[in-house]
Assembly symmetry: C2
Homo-oligomer: 273 residues x 2
Amino acid sequence: MDTWMRFMSNDGGIVFGRVEGGYLHEYESLEQPVPTGAVLSTRALTPLAPCAPGKVIALWNNFHALAAKLDKPVPTHPLFLLKPAASVIGAGEPIRRPLSYAGKIAYEGELGIVIGRRCRDASVEEAADAIFGYTLVNDVTAADLLNENPHFPQWCRAKGFDTFCCIGPAIVSGFAWQQAHLVTKLDDVERQNYPLADMVFSPAQQVSLISQDLTLEPGDVIACGTSVGVGSIKDGATVSITIDGIGTLSNTLSAAHAEPVAPVPPGVAAGVV
Amino acid sequence: MDTWMRFMSNDGGIVFGRVEGGYLHEYESLEQPVPTGAVLSTRALTPLAPCAPGKVIALWNNFHALAAKLDKPVPTHPLFLLKPAASVIGAGEPIRRPLSYAGKIAYEGELGIVIGRRCRDASVEEAADAIFGYTLVNDVTAADLLNENPHFPQWCRAKGFDTFCCIGPAIVSGFAWQQAHLVTKLDDVERQNYPLADMVFSPAQQVSLISQDLTLEPGDVIACGTSVGVGSIKDGATVSITIDGIGTLSNTLSAAHAEPVAPVPPGVAAGVV
């Protein structure tokens, strides 16, 4: 098992690499995991989400316990929606309540699969090889919007707000998810504690089946769906999601306030030319 | 009105600019529309989709005529799903039937809004200023998948396959959409002919309201929804969408065949580091 993180350095540059004993051993990138030779103390660095996905694929109804509670049959193909890149934040960053929404905001603690290489129409074996590692996801939802319109469930809108996809704190490669439990605490009170082995589609099955629908790119994240214990977050409350071996992802919901629109940093916007 | 296109040059580079009389007047980019001084004959260039959106936001039920036909009330907020970047192709490129899907594939001719500057919580006036121009979109759908699972409508999956978002041939800035009609032909037979003035939410209203949900980036595209006349495409058939003043977007549906997975070209994958 190796632990991978992404940081902003003091000069505003972004560095990625393997973390061990308080030091970052820098690598070229997630898709080209070649050491650069640089070693940096992580104390001088600001942690970011461990990858910058072009898209996040979020599964619905992928745990037997939740399907039973909702009284829904388990699906025969992964059921998913897309969360946009701008919804991603890292550990410790605030979840921002939208200015336009005063309703219920829900947490969902989930295992995240981080894609390491481009894959399309992948077999389960090829899919397993395309997984770079695993992380934690809080799949935040503006719950009152989901069924606000009775004719069109608004999955992408309710789950697509800026800051509504917390990812981190690290990616762990070679992680044995089969034995792990995911624990979600809301202000230190345990709300979710479920075994990942209860998944309907395993990570490799998810990657294989979803790659038949759309091409997965390095850095893309699949949020594997949640299980029982989902609930709402009050403004100011902190959600902490833990899987032993990966770490803890903590984010606090901040009340609505106008956010200045930053100019587009170079290289962040879609490459138009 | 100016007409903007994006091309691949013989050396594999990508150029963007204003097209006039068979020549491309190159500009830095869509978000920085500054002329480079270069002028190139378009005959030596291969057309691409006119922008490379990080995300495509596709509206449902945004025309009064279609709402009446479906017997649905018009919505009070844009209803949308997300189509991923990898679904985008340009004019003339083939729509590929997925290997895993033998069912009905539908065309939807739509006006596309191309975002010119980052916007969040924009007023209608700010939103109007953030629109770079207008293009054409064929919002292709694997129609049998939409309601395959009775518990979860699969909008993102059905509309998110690679090549299922045709965009082009050009972006026209300063275009007066209010007077325009959109015409869709299937193998030269007219199937859609509807006035854009029948939209529920105007382009500026769409950009304003959607910017309250998620940050829009330069190059992002909003597909404004379709109206009556949607139908299915047989393998080998060609869909041509025309708005006078913008041009014609033609794409042919090719039968399913295995597509080699290209290595990730530099700069195309999500920037992980």
